[in-house]
């Protein structure tokens, strides 16, 4: 099914003229719904529940964009994409926005024709192994079999890391995250590798989660962020500032519960963020109070993190690098001026 979507998207790229490549904002407004490419299989980042309600850190980016552009965080159509067909879906216009734990790399930014709008999660690739192997460091994995999902930067990082440390590697590659985890669980591989956030979320799906540990080494930089098509600066700005607004809101202490009170704040930065002062929303081609709607309906970055992957979720991932710059992390957004 997913392959069919990919092929259709490809066919669309061949036969359909992309005359409207610079009008995504107008298209979304006319359509009244945002088409958002999401993961669909990764708890904490993008996963529908039994009723079909999507949740996750990436999903919240989609909802925030919908709240800012259409005034309603529910007006999103989520398109579940595999690691393989996600870029084709964005390039061909199937989705307006790709928020699917995608690593920002130079080649994706250039040859794939994407524009990354920021980083919503600073991640890095790690390893999970069985406790019974008594391995304490990834450097002890010489000669190990490693299960890996294909179509990602993961495969390349894995080979690079083993090469750099002069270790031999036996990788077993699967197209699908589910089958990768299943094979690891069945003992086909000694280790399983993916982004550290993914390791925590996949560990919950193993038969005995407590028999496995995540090794301390982080072998790569994986800045995950939403992306849009190259060549539409207006839409690029909109998505970029939606994410910045969520981070700025946390920075300023504005959240979904106190946002109405904060409208009366005398702090000029808060007044600008919420559209009480200035017309920053309109400069983006949106309404004056678009950031207010994001915070009211979706919440600020900290709330979203907590609810989806942090302390308030089953994953309980430490915020680490993703703490605000004022609290020892590197999460930072330019000011709204």
């Amino acid at each position: 099914m997913k392959r069919v979507v990919g092929i259709l998207a490809l066919a669309a790229a061949v036969f359909v003229a992309q005359g409207a490549s610079a009008q995504t904002l107008k298209q979304v407004k006319d359509r009244g719904v945002l088409n958002c490419g999401a993961n669909g299989q990764l708890a904490g980042f993008g996963l529908p529940d039994a009723q079909g309600n999507w949740s996750g850190l990436d999903v919240d980016v989609c909802r925030a964009v919908a709240a800012a552009v259409l005034g309603d965080a529910k007006k999103v159509k989520f398109v579940p994409l595999t690691a393989k067909d996600r870029f084709t879906a964005l390039q061909s216009g199937d989705v307006d926005l790709l928020a699917r734990n995608t690593t920002w790399t130079e080649s994706r930014d250039t040859t794939l024709g994407l524009n990354f709008t920021g980083v919503n999660y600073y991640d890095g690739q790690g390893f999970m192994v069985r406790k019974s192997l008594k391995v304490n460091s990834a450097l002890e994995l010489n000669g190990a079999s490693v299960c890996v999902q294909q179509g990602t930067t993961t495969e390349l990082n894995l080979a690079d890391y083993f090469r750099a440390n002069k270790m031999t590697l036996k990788s077993v590659t699967f197209a699908d995250a589910d089958q990768t985890v299943k094979a690891y669980d069945a003992g086909r591989c000694d280790a399983f590798t993916t982004d550290a956030s993914g390791l925590y979320s996949e560990r919950l799906r193993l038969a005995k989660p407590d028999d496995h540990i995540v090794l301390p080494e982080i072998i790569s930089k994986e800045p995950l962020g939403p992306s849009v098509r190259h060549g539409d600066d207006q839409w690029f700005d909109v998505v970029k500032w939606v994410l910045f607004a969520m981070i700025d809101a946390e920075d300023l202490g504005v959240d979904s519960k106190n946002v109405d009170e904060m409208m009366k704040s005398t702090n000029p930065e808060i007044r600008r963020l919420l559209g009480v002062e200035g017309n920053f929303g309109e400069q983006l081609g949106l309404s004056k109070d678009c950031f207010y709607k994001i915070i009211k309906q979706v919440g600020n970055y900290g709330e979203s993190f907590d609810r989806n992957v942090g302390a308030g979720s089953p994953l309980k991932i430490d915020r680490g690098l993703n703490k605000l710059w004022t609290k020892g992390g590197i999460m930072y957004a330019p000011p709204i001026h």
Partner: protein, 396 residues
């Protein structure tokens, strides 16, 4: 004179556009032009779109370093130095390996089951029917997942491997000692090839003599002696120039030796078992298409059931069997692309998967892959058509 006057009476000239010959040519020309135009428009439009989206195009990626690891490689491949082009060949060879072995296995299994279905033995016939009806009615992807998970679940963990004759069997695969040739082994190979040639020559001579005189020669015994016995004698004469690389238990994996991976076994089993069910039906249809009078005639000449089937029925059934059999071979080859689901590094997994994602050049990569499958299929068809023309009914 009379003839001349008849020739002079030509029919009324029709306008050239009503001439059927002209019309048929004109229609074909128009159609060709249209097809070319559509292809041209699609290509330029795609290139245009790609350029506008700033997506790279062209085949420059072919010689770039690949940098990723592949679990099963039939040719030299390493993540550090090999290119995307090498990765393509690795994937293609893996696809061909599973397709060729799958075709052989499916043919043997399919013929056995197809003939069993027609057996007078009630149990055998019903078992064969049950097999066909079960296997061909379950989607092949599910069967592959079943075989893969069955293989993984049924075999022990690597630390409690089954051990026998220096081999190991566990859920990472089957590891057997790898024979490595030493000085003098080349002679054994040469004698082996000579043995095969000799066996073929003897077979031809024996057949000729049987045609002429009716005397049978011990073809099987002589062939066995030539192909196996002679090389063995040379092998011992040179003092057994062969040593074995034994698999060793390492910290994590078993190293050394030859490894047969569970992904490969599951794919081969799944594809063969699935396709065999269809081949069985094709074979049954072919045998039933041969008139029962042929069997009766053979029996009345005193032939036993075995030779009757082998010498009378199957040769006549082949002309019915071969065309649909070709389709089944093509299906098996194309179904091998489902390997991606169970982690076998075939062409689709390596090239249309990892290479596509790393280069992002979907159009080029998918086009190459489609071209490869088309070529494999056309080649298979060609071979089978040649075979078909040899077995078809000779009309006099």
């Amino acid at each position: 004179m009379a003839v001349e006057s008849v020739g002079a009476q030509q029919p009324a000239r029709v306008a050239f556009y009503n001439d059927p010959k002209f019309r048929s040519i004109a229609y074909q020309v128009v159609l060709c032009v249209l097809v070319v135009l559509v292809v041209y428009a699609a290509t330029t439009n795609a290139l245009d779109n790609l350029q506008r989206a700033h997506v790279a195009s062209g085949f420059g990626f072919w010689n770039q370093a690949a940098g990723f690891d592949i679990s099963q490689t039939l040719i030299e491949y390493s993540a550090s130095v090999s290119t995307y082009g090498t990765a393509f060949w690795v994937g293609l060879l893996n696809t061909l390996l599973v397709a060729v072995l799958g075709i052989v296995l499916a043919t043997i299994l399919g013929f056995t089951i197809g003939i069993s279905r027609l057996s007078k033995n009630w149990l055998l016939a019903k078992t064969a029917t049950g097999y066909v009806e079960t296997v061909r009615n379950i989607p092949v992807l599910l069967q592959l997942l079943f075989w893969y998970n069955a293989v993984l679940k049924a075999l022990p963990d690597i630390r409690d491997s089954h051990k026998f004759f220096g081999s190991f069997l566990n859920n990472r695969g089957l590891f057997v000692p790898e024979p490595l040739a030493q000085r003098g082994f080349g002679w054994v190979e040469i004698v082996f090839l000579l043995g095969i040639a000799g066996a073929i020559a003897f077979h031809l001579w024996a057949r000729k003599r049987q045609m002429a005189t009716g005397q049978q020669a011990p073809v099987a015994t002589v062939s066995l002696a030539l192909v196996i016995g002679l090389p063995l004698v040379v092998f011992f004469a040179f003092g057994m120039p062969l040593h074995f690389d034994m698999p060793q238990v390492g910290r994590f994996n078993i190293t050394g030796g030859l490894a047969l991976q569970p992904e490969f076994v599951a794919l081969l089993l799944g594809l063969s078992v699935y396709t065999a069910a269809f081949i069985a039906e094709v074979v049954r249809a072919g045998i039933l298409a041969v008139s029962h009078g042929q069997t009766e005639a053979a029996y009345s000449l005193g032939m036993k059931p075995g030779p009757t089937l082998r010498l009378i029925i199957i040769p006549q059934a082949m002309r019915v069997i071969v065309p649909p059999l070709t389709s089944q071979y093509l299906n098996l080859t194309k179904n091998s692309s489902l390997a991606v689901a169970i982690g076998y590094p075939d062409l689709v997994q390596v090239f249309t998967g990892t290479v596509l994602n790393q280069t992002g050049q979907a159009l080029e990569v998918v086009a190459i892959t489609m071209l490869v499958y088309l070529s494999i299929s056309l080649f298979t068809s060609l071979v089978m058509n040649i075979y078909n023309s040899r077995v078809k009914l000779v009309e006099r």
